[in-house]
Each structure stands twice: as structure tokens, then as C-alpha cells.
Symmetry: C2
Subunit: 348 residues, 2 copies
DNA sequence: TCCTTAATTGTGATCGCTCCCAATTTGACT
DNA sequence: AGTCAAATTGGGAGCGATCACAATTAAGGA
């Protein structure tokens, strides 16, 4: 095993015949370096294969070149443990990593608890250890004012995904109400009049927005809002199945279901089949998640595709800009996509 | 915004009335600290909310408390872009993060190219910047000797997932041949005699092992091996569909398919349906992936569940042990699971 | 041509921690 | 009690970069 000393900035400086500081300027694209010198230094960097040590940069400077993405531990672990997977995490990684890499940053992913007290402690720990240049909060943490206050107090830039009220933060969200409105309107246009909405959890912020869009579309169509058509299925197959079963037994039964996630949409298809109904002939189903599996369900699900990757990418981009001292705060709406597949059709 | 100086080890030392070094010993669970002093220091740490700065630790010491997991860029990005997702990534994160967190480490996830030359450059960059205490190589990189040599040369401990030859590395794998053998034997027991194997890619190491297990099971049953029953479907729905279509048109057609991934297994179900066959009555299908979607296909797929999370967790655990100076090298076989669902049944 | 100002380069000091080694205390055993 | 070794503490150097500022060089104008 060859012993090889690591190459430092001083090695490069010596090789290029300049001072350490000049090399640093070249690395950081700083001004005040003659083009001739810059080239010479760059050549030395390349030939020596020099890579700046992030830890040292963080120690000396104010940046860590790290973005920290935070997810809810309970929900994430449950999904993993249940074999349900976390497509959301996968999407986050896609968007976040791609953007970070583009900018010479690195994305770190961590889980913290839902309850404020342990969450705060865990955030303090990971943020204290890593000193990220920015933190991305996803639901439900993006709505946690205590966490946001903690970050604000310490001047750590943060982004809130799925939140659109923020003052001194980066808010990145999609138009949940608009998507639900469009989905509902589409079903109405297909002749559906009894459209049920199966929400995830009562405290799930996006649900409220979606339901308002759903109700608005119904109102615009002159339909009456029936509370019996809106229920909460806990994001789970079984709970949703029970509810949907009840709805299909009522009369008149709904002819269309909008579900907050794929699993509940699958439940709708499944329960409908047990009643002898099949989509899209006898009923229509739209999901609000669009995980990879929906392409292979029977029939493939029509779904609102959440722009998770794009939202995280945007969040990273803004946070990195802020860490560079540029302007970055603001609210950013990312377009969603309603993907028509075969689970929706004309009302029977 | 309150200006708050960060709490350093010296603050703790002062508060506890000891030297910096003693605090360091307490943090690192070093020996040679009186229990009484240890308690006093620990109390100071807790009350001040002190968290050691990872960058500083890395600068001064030899550890970075970072484990780097590396994935193939091309395949990963393609999956993401195609909306196919990367359940594998999700699983890696699950296993890796859980274990790292348990040990006070952090997991970093990065993508590098397939070809050796750029891969080497990218590995040098990320490893130079982050100085991880260990690197996890996943297929196909786990079979790349150039990468392994590079890491060995620099004394960076690494783990190879799905590889079982390694000398100075941590090898973590599952019994691919055994799993294929068990799956095949199961089909034979159900009366199937014409069993096709749809492999992923020609250079996909696991395929070769699985096929050998598959062939062994056939041989043990006294069946003849037909080369026409083994084909490569490129992991893709369409390519696999074409191949399977051809097989089903031949006579006698296979009555069972073992596929290297879920997507190709879905293709089998789909194509079979177009021929008027449906599983499990007319044919059986087994997949070698088990992503979350298989639970909702019709019928739900019987599949070999890859212990991805467990493999990554084990790799992290071993690498962390090594970074602590303990013994860690070796080969570790992680048990797989053959999950019976409804896509397999008696031969027609 | 000389002087002022701007553009370029270089020089410690410093970030927070662990390393190595010396100083001190404690304990065990003559 | 006295000695020697072991256990416990502390002190200073240094990791590899950036920062603030000083020193140098080049450019522009009278």
C-alpha cells in the first residue's frame, strides 16, 4: 500500500509558483487574478489532481458546501418497514443531488421525529455536526414553526416544501388546489356527478388545499357538496378500502374517487372489483401521488404527478444561491402534471 | 436575529473546569477519565447543548464520520427520468442511514459514471472533498477492479455489494444462485418443466450466478437445458415483452418465467394476457426484485426480495468498525427472501 | 515623468478539534 | 513510610483551507 501524502493547496501553490491565497482565489473564482496566473494555477491543479478538502474549507470559511434535507422519521420508516418504499425520498434525492452536484455541493439526507421536542434536538445535533449551508424541510416539518424559528435564530437558510406562507424562507410548493380543481373538473366533464374525495390524514396540509379545489370545481358545476363524499383513509390500503366499501354500498354510490395517494387509489380499484365494478367503465379513479407502480396497475392509474424532484432541486438552487450571498428568498410554485392513464372514463 | 457564538469544546472545558483534552476524551469514550470527572463533563455538554463540529474533528483527527455510498449514474438517472424510480436507492438509504445514525455517522450518496475513466475521476473528486471513512460500491462498480485498486492504494476502506471474491475489502452479497435454485425448484415442484429465464443485461454479474442456480435445479430434476429458454431483456418492459412474446408463440411454449426484475415480470404478465393466458392458472411468473409495486399488480408477483437494506446496513457497520480500528474485513452473506404471492401456481 | 488609484499578490492569524507527549495524581507493594 | 508503575490530566502543535489586511505591481492622468 503506497503511502501518499494528500495534496494540499500549498503543494499547488508551490508547483505554480504563487502563494496559497492566489490558488484559493482561483478555486473560488475570485477576481483579482491575472489570466496568465490563473491558467498556470489551473494547470497545476489539474496535473496534481488537487481537490480542496471540504472540512478545511468549512473550518476556515463560512460555507460547508452541504445541503441538509430533512424528512419525517416515523412515516418514512413505516413505509420502509412495510415494504411500501418511499418514492418520495427517491424523488428528493434525484432532484436534490442533481442540482447540488451541478454546483459542487453535496446533499445530506436525514430523518427527524415528528414531535417538536425531539425534532428540535435532532436538528440541533445534525446541524451542529454538519453545519449545512441550507436545510430543506419537507412536510410535516415544513409547517413546524418551532423548527423554522430555531433555524431563523441561527441564521441558517432553509426551504419549506409544500408551504406557501413563509417570510424569511424559501417556499417551494405546487398548486394543490389547482390540481384538485383540474382533476375534479375533468371528472365532471366526463359526466361524473358523484365524486368522492379520500384524503390522507386530517393534519395533512395538502389535503385541505386539495379539498378546497375539489369543492370549488363542484360548486362551479352547480353540484351540491355532500360531506359524506369526503373521508380520511390514513394513506393506507386497508383503511381506505373499508371506507370506499361503505361508500359503494350507499345509494347513490359515487362513480369517481380522488385519492390522496396511490395506495388508497389501488384500494378503490380493488374494492370496486369486489363489487363487480371495474375502471374505467364503471367508475373512475384519480390518485395524487404517481409512484412508479401505477403504470403497472390494472388499469394504470390516472394521477397527479407531484413535482417532488423539481421542488427539491429548486430549493437546493435557492439555498445555494443564498449561501453565496445572492438573493434567494421567496415563494416558488412548481408546475404539477396530471397524467391521464386508463383509470378514468365517462360516467356510466 | 440573535447573534450566538457557537459552543466549542473549550466552552465545555471551561464550564466543567477541565482541559479541552479531557472533554475530548469524554466525547470519544476514551479511557483514562475518572467517572466523577466524566459525569461533570457530560453534564456540561448536555446543559450547553454542545455538539462537536464534524469538520474540525476531521481536520484534527483521522476520521470524518462519513460513509460514502456510490451508485451507477447512468442506470439511476435513466430510471428516474423514465418515472421508473429507484427502489434500490430507497432501500440503500434505509439500511445505510439507519445504521450510520445508530453509530453517529452520516451517509452520503453520490452517483458516478459507469466507464472506469470518468468514474475514477469522479471518485477522486468526491472522496478528496469529503474524505469518507469508508466507501460502498454497488453493482456494477463493485466489480470494477480499477476503482477498488484506487481505493486500496489510498487505504480507504470499501465494501463491495453483490461481490464475493474480494481480498482486502468488505464483501456483502446474497446467495443469488441459491435463490434462483430455490425459485426454479419450486416451479418444478409445481409441475412446470418448461421454465424460461429472462435475464437483465449480459454483463450483469448477478444474472450469471442466478442462471447457474436455475440450470442446476433443472439438471437436478433431470430436465434438459435449452438455450432458447434463456434470454436477455435489458431490464426493460418493451424489450422483455418482445422476447416473451416470441417465446409464447413457440411450441411448446414455456409455462413459467423467472425474470431479473419486476418490470420484465410485469411484461410477462402483460404479454401472457394478450395471448389469453393469465397467471397463475395458465402460467407462473417469478421476479428477482420485489419493488413496492408488485403488491398491487394483478396478480401480485411472487418474488425474491433482495436484502438491499440489510446488505448496505451490514456494509456500513463493517466500514465503521474498520474506521474505529477494529477488524472488519471479510465476506458476508445476507439472507434473501422468496415471497410467495399469486403469480405462481401449478403447471396447467 | 511622477503621482494617485486600482488591480494584483502575499502574509500571518484563525477556525475547533485530535494528536503526541509531558506533568501530575493515584495506587500497590515493598 | 517510600518507591515505582499505572492511571489520569493538561499543554502545545498542527490539520488545510479562508479571512482580513499589508505589500507589491500595474494602469491612468496631469
Amino acid at each position: 500500500m503506497t503511502k501518499r501524502a494528500d495534496i494540499t493547496i500549498d503543494d499547488v501553490a508551490e508547483a505554480a509558483g504563487v502563494s496559497r491565497q492566489t490558488v484559493s482565489r482561483v478555486i473560488n473564482r475570485g477576481p483579482h487574478v491575472k489570466p496568465l496566473v490563473r491558467d498556470r494555477v489551473q494547470k497545476a491543479i489539474d496535473s496534481l489532481g488537487y481537490v480542496p478538502n471540504l472540512s478545511a474549507r468549512r473550518m476556515a470559511g463560512s460555507r460547508s458546501y452541504l445541503i441538509l434535507a430533512i424528512n419525517d422519521r416515523k412515516r418514512t420508516i413505516e413505509n420502509w418497514a412495510a415494504g411500501r418504499g418511499n418514492d418520495w425520498v427517491d424523488q428528493m434525492l434525484f432532484g436534490g443531488m442533481t442540482e447540488c452536484e451541478r454546483q459542487g455541493y453535496h446533499l445530506l439526507f436525514e430523518l427527524i421525529d415528528t414531535e417538536t421536542e425531539p425534532a428540535l434536538r435532532q436538528l440541533a445535533n445534525v446541524s451542529g455536526a454538519l453545519r449545512p449551508d441550507g436545510v430543506i424541510l419537507t412536510p410535516p416539518h415544513s409547517d413546524n414553526e418551532a423548527l423554522c424559528a430555531w433555524l431563523t435564530e441561527r441564521s441558517i437558510p432553509f426551504a419549506r416544501i409544500g408551504h406557501r406562507v413563509g417570510s424569511h424562507s424559501v417556499d417551494v410548493f405546487m398548486d394543490e388546489a389547482g390540481a384538485a380543481h383540474e382533476a375534479t373538473r375533468g371528472l365532471i366533464a366526463l359526466g361524473h356527478s358523484r365524486i368522492a374525495y379520500i384524503a390522507g390524514a386530517p393534519n395533512y396540509g395538502a389535503s385541505a388545499q386539495r379539498i378546497s379545489g375539489y369543492e370549488q370545481a363542484l360548486r362551479e358545476a352547480g353540484a351540491t357538496l355532500e360531506t359524506s363524499m369526503v373521508a380520511t383513509g390514513g394513506f393506507s390500503f386497508q383503511a381506505a378500502a373499508d371506507i370506499i366499501d361503505g361508500m359503494l354500498k350507499s345509494s347513490p354510490a359515487p362513480s369517481a374517487f380522488i385519492c390522496d395517494n396511490d395506495e388508497m387509489a389501488f384500494a378503490a380499484l380493488h374494492v370496486a372489483a369486489s363489487h363487480g365494478f371495474s375502471a374505467p367503465q364503471d367508475l373512475s379513479v384519480i390518485s395524487f401521488e404517481d409512484t412508479p407502480g401505477v403504470r403497472f396497475s390494472v388499469p394504470p392509474l390516472t394521477a397527479v404527478r407531484q413535482p417532488t424532484a423539481a421542488m427539491i432541486a429548486r430549493a437546493c438552487e435557492r439555498l445555494i444561491a443564498i449561501s453565496r450571498g445572492e438573493e434567494g428568498w421567496g415563494a416558488f410554485q412548481i408546475p404539477y402534471e396530471l397524467i391521464m392513464r386508463d383509470s378514468t372514463g365517462p360516467a356510466p
